[in-house]
Amino acid sequence: MEISDFQSNDENAWCQGCGNFGILNALQKTLVQYGKKPQEIFLVSGIGQAAKLPHYIKANCFNGLHGRALPAAVAAKITNPRLTVIVTTGDGDCYGEGGNHFIHNIRRNVDITVIVHNNQIYGLTKGQASPTTDRGYQTSVQTGGVILEPFHALPVALVLGAGFVARGFSGDTAHLSELILKGIQHKGFSLIEVLQPCVTFNKLNTFSWYKKRSDYLHHDKEYDTGNKNLALTKALEWGDKIPLGVIYEEKKPCYADLALLPEDGLMGRSARDMSVLWDDFL
């Protein structure tokens, strides 16, 4: 596979300099490396600037409703397990509108990879606070600054039992691409949150703001991605240092294993001999 195999001819609608480009490039690079054909890749998204990403890659795409990428994605994966299912979603899409699905699909542990473009703002609707906007940040709605506690998705995911939790930065596509590949290869729900500057509406969490705080976990030779307590401590860090890399990974049975899903999922003809069932009503 080459980058050109995954090139879409749809016109891009992101702002110049948007952090989403880094994520797009990283994902395309990952897909080339991963080696499956575009027809075998299924990108699912909701609504937002982040959620437009599937249009800019040549692969199957279901660009559904705001907040609802996860339910559609997991059901598609259950139906056709041969598809590699990747969700591209925003912080508003995934943690706000889709919060309930975020919680329960981690528990459901279907084998999908979820990339959250976290620009800490609602981009498409022009700059209102998202669940991850830092305290004190002023917007057209939060005129006195955000007073709500920010939502930290990574520790939440860990507590819910996620088997793959990672954080990347759109400014480091090589690193991000590696993370995405690991996420795809992990069997089960893989969460990759990406620090993504929004050049238009987030004047606080800029490229250099993120870059300065980048704290690569692989620089610490002692860091053990299998240690959940340590992972929780790292996942909770959000300040002068923001940890990047695989925070936690654990092999565990996923939905298909536990539900004893057939290899071809639900694609085939169903058994139709219902004669024994009628007996219940005789």
Binding site: K58, N60, V74, A75
Partner: protein
């Protein structure tokens, strides 16, 4: 007697449903027709629930107002049930169950709790005692009781079966035959027959259609669809997934459908409200979707365990924007089965949402039915579109004459498929183009609706040739309306029943009513939603409405009286 009406009341948790089914099955196996409603409170223990069973020589599909026999397992709400007795009716009670309640005229005191204790050493087998008593009183042979009880407890093991049989036998023997026995059905009823409720029939319809993914969030009165499918799922390779909410359910159903499985979700009005965004998404992305809405009285939480037909407006209009959809409203067990299969077929053929509208009354009423034939339902599974229909590169929303584009399923065609909830191009990419917008709206709404109208299910007419007046209804009221029609044949009354309410079969409706003087619309709601719909879609103004919105279904007697009243007021 050619029919007997039995009511058994008791507290929630006293096992009335098992008793009701066992009793209904015993009569069915003995060659009688049965119809049984469930009247339950929204609670797990206590309160007062009842079932009312109509046993008849002729097929029956509606309840009667009054009962010949009321049996009370519990005396707390006995006064309301006393009123349900007809002139010759008898109340059977165990006076000791309510602290030695004095026995009044028309009451038969049988110590069924004591009989249970003596027969099985345990008061808990009282339901089977009562089954024996009722069977004896109504002239049923003990063999029918026996086979029914064996079936009811077959999964519970031999000792449970034996205890229940002992209890039933003791009740049966204790009872001197009391004059309610029924003459044989003539002609004899063909066997075997099924005893089924609407939800069960829809489950069988969905399975026959090859549905492989079902997801829902529990909500009465739809929940038994989920529990029954869960029971059947494994050997049929079906996944039953409990969703975190109805929004998830509908979006999962769409995800599965897009990926190639026939998928289903079901709910009641409150859940359907949450699903409406998904209905709209189905319309926009042209992804087949089947939803069952088993209605209950609203607004909000309403009466969770009771019945109403008040979501007609909701399901026809639910889902923002304009797009083709279909709403089916089965009126019998057989229709519930067949229309479920048909819903999958139409959802797929037109790539639209199809909603099946039922209610607690149809969902939970058990009726004896001829065996259902799965060969009348077409099964299907994911397949690539015919190469001849395709243009390359593949366009998910290719503009066609019929409005329907060849549906590519990811990985089953050798190209990628883009679907989008934004307004989109033929390729499925986001667009702001005014021209494309117009063509896409025409595709999704006008063209598809025009094709749908060509194969709309016509209203079913009954006794309408000689009629001056037609009673009109949709969904669950079919049986009761028909029976009232039969009763009032001399008054030149016929009826029309709509198994499909959207797209509204306007042309057929107008044709079927041209020679009719009066239309009376019968609805289980407060505002006459069907009557308004008829006016809007045909310009025909009905002469009267008969409405009922107390959360209970019409009985034959009540509807009869109210229709006579309406007709009387014209004279």
């Amino acid at each position: 007697m050619d029919e007997i009406n039995l009511r058994v009341c008791g507290q929630a948790g006293q096992g009335l449903q098992v008793l009701g089914t066992a009793l209904g099955r015993a009569y069915k196996n003995a060659g009688r027709h049965v119809f049984m409603i469930q009247d339950n409170m929204s609670r797990i223990r206590g309160g007062n629930n009842f079932f009312q069973l109509r046993v008849s020589q002729a097929p029956v599909s509606a309840p009667r107002q009054k009962a010949d026999i009321v049996a009370a397992l519990d005396l707390d709400s006995i006064d309301s049930h006393r009123k349900a007795l007809n002139e010759k009716g008898r109340l059977i009670l165990d006076a000791k169950a309510g602290g030695d309640a004095p026995v009044q005229e028309k009451e038969i005191n049988i110590p069924f709790y004591e009989i249970s204790k003596n027969a099985c050493g345990d008061k808990r087998f009282v339901n089977s005692v009562l089954l024996g008593i009722l069977a004896r009183m109504t002239g049923l042979l003990f063999e029918s009781v026996e086979s029914s009880l064996v079936k009811a407890f077959s999964s519970k093991g031999e000792s449970v079966i034996q205890k229940n049989l002992q209890a039933a036998r003791a009740g049966y023997d204790h009872t001197p035959g009391v004059g309610f026995s029924m003459s044989e059905s003539n002609p004899p009823v063909s066997q075997p027959r099924l005893l089924m409720n609407g939800n069960e029939a829809m489950v069988m319809g969905a399975m026959a259609a090859g549905c492989r993914f079902y997801t829902a969030y529990p909500m009465s009165p739809s929940t038994s669809i989920m529990t029954l499918l869960a029971r059947y799922a494994k050997p049929y390779g079906m996944i039953v997934e409990q969703a975190e909410d109805e929004i998830s359910a509908v979006n999962m159903a769409l995800g599965a459908s897009f990926a190639g499985a026939r998928s289903l979700t079901s709910t009641s009005g409150g859940g359907f409200c949450l699903m409406t965004e998904g209905v709209s998404l189905s319309g926009m992305t042209e992804t087949p979707l089947v939803i069952i809405n088993a209605q209950r009285p609203g607004p909000a939480t309403g009466f969770p365990t009771r019945t109403e037909q008040s979501d007609l407006d909701l399901v026809i209009h639910g889902g923002h924007g304009e797009f083709a959809k279909m709403v089916l409203a089965p009126g019998t067990i057989e229709e519930a089965f067949l229309l479920t299969g048909y819903a999958f077929q139409m959802a797929e053929k037109y790539q639209i949402p199809v909603i099946i509208l039922t209610d607690q009354y149809l969902a939970e009423s058990q009726i004896d039915t001829e065996p259902l034939d799965i060969n009348r339902i077409k099964a299907a599974h994911a397949q690539p579109p015919a190469e001849a229909d395709l243009v390359h590169p593949y366009k998910r929303y290719a503009l066609t004459e019929s409005g329907v584009s060849p549906r590519g399923i990811p990985s089953l065609i050798n190209e990628v498929v883009y679907a989008d909830s934004d307004e989109h191009t033929e390729e499925g990419h986001i667009t702001e183009s005014a021209d494309t917008r117009v063509r896409m709206v025409e595709k999704r709404y006008h063209k598809k609706t025009a094709s749908l109208l060509k194969e709309t299910m016509k209203p079913k007419s009954f006794q309408s040739h000689e009629a001056d007046t037609l009673l009109v209804g949709f969904g669950s009221t079919q049986g009761v309306i028909k029976e009232v029609c039969e009763r009032l044949q001399k008054l030149k009354i016929g009826c029309l029943h709509l198994p499909q309410v959207w797209p509204f079969p306007s042309q057929a409706f107008i044709e079927l009513t041209t020679n009719i003087k009066h239309l009376v619309v019968v609805e289980n709601n407060a505002t006459g939603q069907l009557r308004r719909l008829i006016r809007r879609e045909t310009g025909l103004e009905a002469d009267a409405s008969v409405l009922k919105f107390d959360g209970r279904p019409f009985s034959v007697d009540e509807l009869h009286a109210r229709v006579e009243e309406v007709i009387g007021s014209w004279k």
